[in-house]
């Protein structure tokens, strides 16, 4: 029972006519990094706001750390940390002042406050910027400051809404190292993202599309159990081949990757290589190879809209 930090069932939230979240069931285990993967507007932020008690659900039940939401939202606040999608600390305060403010809000004072802030400043590499206004810092620095603020009171459960969207790849890698450190220290983390490589780092993830959960599980399971085969074709005229393959009903999508075409076939096809060999634009000298699915393949397979987008392009 208590192994789950978040339990939600049949969770829905409407904004007028917009159904931002529909019938979401969610079970997040303790000590894990759980990901929400989905394109912009799919409801990631709304889901996180529902799970932090910032929004009231239109329907459904939520239990976070054993607290029933939205009733116990105020009690929950001491136990969770939330890093908003948009930077929400004060641009016109310095790093030191922002952290000092948050510390006082959580009831730290004197020596305990100073120690905790110094600790965070060194953990998140903010030593050079302590006297800098938050508004003048780089995306990566702001993101580390936001994470420091969200973890200042050592929450059991951390919500991170697209934490790396304004950050370069190197900083993204470092940031994930910090998340694994936090996870090792026992924190449970729920993180939303629209980057495949980030989603792949999560212990478990849910793929969201237009407010509906399309799939969930560990990245490995999702890739193994994906209802499709992935074949890479090396051929001379990839554009024409792509056009002719896309009209075949068994082909979910075909996307050009450098000199190869990555083709997703429905798993109703028993022998994908033989099936493709029979197609007309495949020349005998073309090489076909069955490859391991990527998370992107999973995403494309289970989100309806993206498949259409891929087919159209």
């Amino acid at each position: 029972m208590n192994d789950y930090v978040i339990k939600a069932s049949n969770l829905s939230r409407n904004f007028g006519d917009i159904k931002a979240i529909q019938g979401l069931d969610l079970n997040v285990e303790k000590g894990r990094i759980y990901g929400f993967l989905g394109p912009n507007g799919c409801g990631k932020t709304t889901a996180i706001r529902l799970l932090t008690g910032l929004l009231k659900p239109s329907a459904g039940e939520i239990q976070v750390l054993g607290f029933t939401l939205p009733r116990d939202a105020q009690k929950l606040r001491l136990h969770i940390g939330y890093m908003t999608q948009k930077f929400s600390l004060y641009d016109d305060l310095t790093v030191q002042e922002n952290l000092g403010f948050i510390a006082k809000i959580y009831g730290l004072s004197g020596r305990a406050k100073r120690q905790r802030i110094d600790e965070l400043i060194s953990t998140y590499g903010l030593e050079q910027t302590t006297q800098q206004l938050a508004g003048t810092m780089s995306g990566g620095q702001r993101q580390r400051l936001a994470l420091a603020a969200a973890t200042l009171h050592k929450p059991e459960l951390l919500f991170l809404d697209e934490p790396t969207s304004a950050v370069d790849p190197e900083n993204r890698r470092d940031f994930w190292e910090k998340l694994f450190d936090l996870s090792d220290q026992g924190a449970s983390i729920l993180v939303s993202t629209h980057y495949m490589d980030e989603a792949e780092r999560c212990h478990k993830l849910a793929i969201l599309e237009t407010g509906i959960k399309r799939a969930d599980g560990s990245p490995e399971t999702l890739m193994e159990e994906m209802g499709a085969h992935v074949v890479e074709v090396a051929s001379s005229d990839l554009r024409q081949l792509k056009q002719s393959l896309l009209v075949i009903p068994e082909v979910i999508t075909a996307a050009q990757l450098g000199a190869r075409l990555r083709v997703l076939l429905k798993n109703t096809v028993a022998d994908p290589l033989a099936f493709l060999r029979q197609q007309k634009n495949i020349a005998p000298e073309d090489t076909l190879s069955l490859v391991r699915p990527s998370l992107e393949d999973v995403f494309v397979t289970c989100t309806g809209k993206s498949r259409q987008l891929s087919k159209a392009s």
Partner: protein, 381 residues
């Protein structure tokens, strides 16, 4: 006390931000300074030097003396001569002049028969003798100007004829307390304290919370254990000091530049002012929980500010207003403060003797704070 330390956290954060916000900080000082100068010099209910014209049909020595005598009152300033009344009225329409004095051909006869001049002939009741000696045509749209010219109606004429001035005994003797020289600034400057505090206090606090919402800080704040009432108190306390600073600027300069006396007790003034600042700040908070963005907050501030200027007794006496306006005025904190501050500064009243106004401000603050805390929900719905 966790609550107190959270209030203190918000309070010092607010002060730091204010210190960095040069624009707002400048306004804190410049608004009272500039408004005081503008209002202090510009508002003058003793109308003088109204631009006026003359149509003189008689062209006699007497008419010229008449013109000089009227000019000497300084109520009007004659600047133009016109051939006839039509030309003069056209000039009024063009706003070249606000009034015209029409002197008829027979001004000498009229003067001779005029009862106040009394050239021996017994006061007569027939048409001829009770006629005025000349006529004013006035742009009556501005009632203040009209009233100033009307005050000339019974101007004594005896000195026109070099007669010894026969000062008659007035029916009433009038003793003017508190402002014997009748300087407008004496009434305006203390009132200005109320207007400027209404403007700045409501504006700053209403913007303070809306800004956090617009910049996204609120989403972070409401996931912390801060309670609405703590947030509200932490936000308004810094502005109480700012309000006090503004009062000091206005009254200090009022004393130096406009020679406005300070007759009352400093503690009495502090008591009344803090009460009013609190009421205005809380009103700002209520607005901030209603407004969706800073523009709306500003619009609502103006919505409160205008009646505070016009109905509070700042410019027009409260007693002269129709009952409905008086009722509205009673709701506004500015009206109560206007009475208190003029009472304390000009008449050395103790606020305990004006407790009705004090109690009302206290009630307004308490109810407003309750509404603001209640309306400020800790979620984004």
């Amino acid at each position: 006390m966790k609550g107190l330390s959270r209030i203190q956290a918000i309070f010092s954060k607010e002060l730091t931000q204010l210190k960095r916000d040069k624009m707002t900080f400048g306004m804190v000082i410049m608004i009272p300074l500039i408004q005081l100068m503008l209002f202090g010099f510009a508002i003058n209910t003793n109308v003088r030097h109204i631009p006026a014209g003359i149509v003189d049909y008689s062209q006699t020595g007497l008419s010229r003396i008449l013109i000089q005598t009227i000019g000497a009152t300084q109520v009007v300033k004659f600047s133009q001569q016109y051939m006839n009344v039509d030309q003069a009225e056209a000039a009024i329409a063009r706003a070249e002049i606000r009034a015209v004095l029409v002197i008829p051909k027979d001004v000498s006869q009229r003067l001779a028969r005029h009862p106040t001049v009394g050239l021996g002939s017994p006061p007569s009741s027939d048409e001829e003798t009770s006629r005025a000696i000349a006529q004013w045509v006035v742009d009556g749209s501005d009632t203040m100007i009209a009233a100033a010219i009307k005050s000339l109606r019974y101007m004594p004429l005896a000195e026109l004829l070099n007669k010894p001035v026969n000062r008659s005994t007035p029916t009433f003797e009038v003793t003017l307390l508190y402002n014997p020289e009748q300087r407008t600034a004496v009434n305006i400057v203390p009132g200005l304290v109320g207007i400027i505090l209404t403007m700045t206090m409501i504006m700053f606090t209403s913007a303070a919370i809306v800004r956090e919402r617009e910049r996204g800080n609120l989403e972070m704040l409401i996931t912390t254990p801060v309670r609405p009432i703590e947030l509200m108190l932490g936000k308004i306390i810094p502005y109480m000091f700012i309000g006090a600073l503004q009062v000091a600027i206005i009254l200090g300069l009022g004393y130096v530049v406009f020679n406005v006396p300070f007759n009352g007790g400093l503690w009495q003034l502090a008591g009344a002012t803090l009460m009013f600042i609190a009421a205005s700040l809380v009103l700002g908070l209520v607005i901030s929980t209603l407004a969706k963005n800073q523009l709306q907050a500003t619009q609502m501030t103006i919505f409160v500010l205008l009646p505070s200027i016009l109905l509070s007794g700042f410019v027009f006496p409260y007693e002269g207003m129709p009952e409905l306006a008086q009722r509205i005025a009673e709701i506004l904190p500015a009206t109560h403060f206007m009475r208190l501050v003029r009472g304390v500064i000009l008449r050395d009243v103790e606020i305990i003797d004006m407790r009705y106004d004090m109690i009302w401000l206290a009630l307004f603050t308490a109810i407003g704070l309750a509404i603001a805390s209640f309306r400020f929900k800790k979620n984004l719905d």
